[in-house]
């Protein structure tokens, strides 16, 4: 009788182990059949890469070159003079259409609204939570570089999105020049709100 009990005991332990192990481990992706079909031979941009000196797949373009659709190098530098030159020299190349304005709005909502607010009044979601200081409103605020926010020109807004100012970071890494022009177009509409 004692031996039978021992047998049951061992069986019980075996079952528990099986049940527990079948629950799976959330820290592991689990079994894979033919993993060489899942792991690509080609490198993804985010992957480490031994072929390059810094060990990364994503590389910076060679110096003094500009990829198509990106910023010209140092055309308007991030200096007070560059800011004023951009104001003089840059005009929005995109024609004003409803469709472009719509795209500008979508981009503005995605990229800007959590600080600047949906209507550009400097009351975005983070500002309302008092986690980040309020930027000046486009319609009524004053620019830290002089003048009213509502008077900002194409070039000034473009320069600010590109390089940032004060606590605002440079956004040229997330937003291509064409997208920036769409946002500039929409910001001009928000400047009219008083």
């Amino acid at each position: 009788m004692n031996k039978l009990r021992l047998l049951y005991f061992i069986l019980f332990i075996g079952i528990t182990i099986l049940v527990v192990s079948s629950c799976g481990d959330k820290r592991s992706p689990g079994w894979e059949y033919a993993p060489n079909m899942y792991e690509a031979k080609a490198f993804n941009p985010d992957q480490p890469n031994k072929n390059f000196k810094n060990g990364q797949t994503a590389q910076v373009p060679p110096p003094n070159t500009t990829p198509v659709g990106f910023d010209r190098v140092d055309e308007y530098p991030n200096t007070p003079e560059g800011y004023l030159e951009a104001s003089e020299g840059l005009k929005n190349p995109l024609p004003l259409t409803i469709a472009t304005l719509q795209e500008g709005k979508t981009l503005y909502v995605n990229m800007c609204s959590h600080c600047h607010g949906y209507e550009g009044r400097g009351d975005g979601s983070i500002v309302k939570l008092e986690k980040f200081p309020a930027p000046p409103a486009y319609g009524t605020g004053k620019s830290s570089r002089g003048g009213n926010m509502s008077d900002l020109t194409d070039g000034k807004i473009f320069h600010t999105i590109t390089y940032g100012v004060n606590l605002m970071g440079a956004h040229k890494y997330q937003i291509t020049p064409e997208e920036r022009w769409k946002i500039v177009m929409y910001v001009h509409e928000l400047q009219k709100l008083k």
Binding site: Y38, P80, P133
Partner: protein, 429 residues
């Protein structure tokens, strides 16, 4: 000596009076409306100043001790003019923080400025650690909840190994005891046949058990159920990573960033609407907010250790606000992975189809730690493609197809060129 002390005694009330009056008058000059000052401060000043830490301009704690009130009034209303006029105090400040220059606030009245400095003084006098304790407590529970509770394979294997070893040890010890007993019995001259009888009995027990049909049936049934379910589950879940939740190098909470702060998904994953990859944001995107946001209120005035990891990766010094050269990428662990033979393009789904991120990635705005929500199997893809209607309005691709079909209906000739056969990329890719 006596006369001196007498003189002091006589003069003491006067001294006290002047001292009192002095304090009173100085407090009068700042006895302004702190509430009104707070409102203006938040509206105009916080973009560059904080009370207890340097932001773009200096920390304002104790500013009324560093400068006179008259100077502060003049400076606050028009700092650029004061720098231009060559005021020595203004020049020192400008040299320290250039090229940043304080904006002119000519629209503020003397009372406004006094209110601001009254608020700054009131805030600066507050002990800084008072509110920190409660915040840490609330945060501590939140952090504790997200701890990992999974039993690792290593532990399971270890457990089995321990049981097996214990079993073996018991067996070996049993044998040793038996042999020792036998040796002792032999020495005493007793016959050893008893032992063999016991052996026979043992085998008999096992034989009985193997002839017990009910027991054998139970055993077979059990193994069929266990092996069957394990095999079924194993086959279905091979290559399916649903629920995969690896430990990431930084405890980044989507619940906080996307849920509470309502930062749009595409602010950080800015590739989602324009490229195949949704793209993991580079650390400079983190710095767009975290050059300012350091969550010091949750960590007793220290910078959050998780935010410090960004600074370490960028070799950034939060004191001097300077980036070093020893920068290292943050090695996030990939969760969603499609096999090499399946092509998936984010922009096609986000921009053309207009699908919400949550449709595939689940309630991401509630995840403190991201896990894979969808199975990403072919069946899953196909099911959605069967159900989803195509929105062909304002889509140049479908316009072209419709135009071609209309031409066909009219009996006109449709050449390859009409369907885009003259595009360079069709041949030269």
């Amino acid at each position: 000596m006596r006369s001196i002390s007498l003189f002091f005694k006589s003069i003491l009330p006067l001294l006290l009076f002047t001292a009192y009056f002095g304090i009173f008058s100085s407090s009068v000059s700042f006895a302004q409306d702190v509430g009104a000052g707070a409102a203006i401060f938040k509206q105009k000043c916080t973009a560059c100043h904080a009370i207890n830490k340097q932001v773009l301009g200096p920390a304002l704690k104790g500013v009324s001790e560093r400068h006179t009130e008259a100077w502060l009034l003049k400076w606050t209303k028009n700092a650029p003019a004061m720098i231009a006029s060559g005021d020595p105090e203004a020049k020192v400040l400008y040299d320290k923080y250039k090229p940043t220059m304080m904006t002119a606030f000519t629209e503020l009245s003397d009372d406004d400025v006094k209110n601001i400095y009254a608020y700054v003084k009131a805030e600066g006098d507050k002990p800084p650690v008072a509110a920190a304790g409660a915040a840490v407590g609330a945060d501590g529970t939140a952090v504790g909840g997200s701890g990992d509770g999974g039993v690792s394979n290593f532990m399971l294997i270890g457990l089995i190994a321990v049981i097996v070893i214990a079993f073996l040890v018991i067996l070996v010890l049993n044998r040793v005891i038996n042999t020792l007993e036998r040796v002792m019995l032999r020495k005493k001259g007793v016959e050893v046949e008893e032992e063999e009888e016991i052996k026979k009995d043992r085998l008999a027990g096992l034989k009985m058990l193997s002839k017990n049909k009910k027991f054998i049936f139970f055993l077979v049934l059990l193994s069929v159920i266990l092996l069957g379910s394990a095999g079924w589950k194993g086959m279905w879940e091979t290559g399916v990573h649903t629920g995969y939740q690896p430990v990431q190098p930084i405890k980044f909470s989507h619940q906080l960033h996307a849920g509470v702060n309502k930062v749009d998904c595409q602010y950080c994953h800015s590739g989602a609407y324009k490229s195949k990859n949704a793209s993991i944001p580079s650390a400079n995107v983190c710095m767009n907010c975290h050059n300012y946001v350091q969550a010091t209120e949750k960590y007793n005035g220290e910078i959050s250790p998780e935010i410090l990891k960004i600074y370490t990766a960028l070799d950034y010094n939060p004191e001097t606000k300077v980036y070093g050269n020893n920068q290292k990428p943050i090695e996030w662990i990939r969760i969603h992975n499609l096999p090499d033979f399946a092509y998936f393009n984010h922009s096609q789904h986000v921009r053309v189809a207009g699908i919400e991120c949550q449709k595939c990635h689940g309630p991401i705005q509630t995840m403190q730690e991201v896990y894979q929500y969808s199975p990403l199997t072919m069946k899953w893809c196909i099911n959605c493609h069967r159900e989803t209607e195509v929105n062909h309005k304002d889509n140049a691709y479908y316009d072209q197809l419709l135009a071609a079909h209309n031409q066909l209906k009219k009996g006109e000739k449709v050449t390859a060129a009409v369907l885009g056969g003259l595009e360079c990329g069709k041949c030269h890719y």
